[in-house]
Symmetry: C2
């Protein structure tokens, strides 16, 4: 009943697990490599096959830079501390965290803060610093972890009812495709610009401590990701 929607493939994985590969891939490609696969390497073709089956046309329209890989109340010195933790986590990264022993759930943006506040979850990842700052997670958890190994770049799209799409003139279709393409780069560049400032502001104004996983810890996440891939292959 709606003509268009703006969302990201990872939220549609309940029905199609494969769609999780079209928002972000853990330990995955950079922006250029990811768009290369989508636009020229057959990625978009696979994704459209799924959506087309539901009478939907899809156009990528947005990309954002690396996310935080988690807001935690305490510093995590040993990954054993993650075992049994209840954490909001999106996409394929959630599969990795489950391997580490985390109990993950996917909450929508607006539900995260109250869940953190009431102790329904102990920790969360959501988006990039410039977005997370607006959600105020730092009021409850001051330890913000990087790198965002689970979403080094994230892509979102416009979904359009296929009949409405087919009803547009070639010219208007081209305007939408080209405008969405430009928007993808524009927003990606904008996030690369604003995120460092958001991190500085969170540190100076809200006492957020930016932490980096050690190389050893990242190696554990990466091995867990390989195990997930091996299981699903």
């Amino acid at each position: 009943s709606i003509e268009m929607a703006w969302t990201t493939a990872g939220y549609d994985t309940g029905k199609y697990p494969a769609l999780s590969f079209f928002t972000a891939v853990p330990f995955g490609p950079s922006f250029g490599e990811y768009m290369a696969w989508k636009m020229f390497g057959g990625g978009d073709v696979l994704e459209e096959e799924i959506y087309n089956g539901h009478g939907i046309h899809k156009i990528d329209c947005l990309a954002i830079g690396p996310e935080t890989s988690g807001w935690f109340k305490e510093e995590i010195t040993d990954l054993e501390q993650l075992r049994g933790l209840k954490m909001r986590f999106f996409g394929l990264g959630a599969r990795v965290m489950q391997k580490i022993g985390v109990s993950t759930q996917l909450l929508a943006g607006g539900d995260i803060f109250p869940a953190l506040e009431k102790g329904v979850i102990d920790a969360t990842e959501f988006s990039m610093p410039a977005m997370d700052i607006k959600y105020g997670f730092y009021q409850i958890a001051k330890n913000n972890y990087f790198p965002g190994w689970h979403q080094q770049v994230s892509v979102s799209h416009l979904l359009i009812n296929m009949d409405k799409w087919n009803g547009l003139s070639d010219q208007n279709q081209a305007l939408l495709e080209i405008g969405a393409g430009e928007s993808t780069m524009y927003i990606y560049a904008e996030t690369e610009y604003v995120n460092p400032y958001a991190m500085v502001e969170m540190g100076e104004k809200y006492g957020v401590i930016t932490r980096r996983w050690t190389d050893d810890q990242i190696a554990v996440f990466e091995q867990a990701w390989r195990d997930v891939v091996a299981e699903d292959s």
Copy 2:
């Protein structure tokens, strides 16, 4: 007398050395960081100031992935081998190579092969693998060096006569700006897709040996770049 031109800022440095910073910066930013600086961090404003002074409006319209950092006849095991070498080199990277003892000159694409063939130059860098393959440098020099520390991403632009630009409707101006923005990302993604295939093809069909500078050699290039920056600051 022409209304538009397609070129890259680095070719206009004879008159304005500062323009070399708008095509590529050695040891510089990734695509996202570079576009962030250009679009949101004041880079474009500085560049337009220079072009506007000549009645020209500029719009970025193309980006390409990492270039090769040189085609050499012999394997370079010791940077001392570069001393006295005559080499085609573009942009700020040329300043670095001069510090290493290379005698650089900037030849246009079509002039490089004959210069290599006649021994006017001993070595060259030009563009990315998918472009270099068409110029056939591998016929004379089989050693292709990476990473492209001198141009990790390169941006080109459309220059438009300001009176012509001002004569366009707001709508047509927007179409050009948005189309050029989409083209920047589209071409960047395309180069990320085609370059690895070009490298494989050059290896298999033409016996090109892809080589990587050692970390120690890259450190020498990077120190030379820092010296250039310190000199000019």
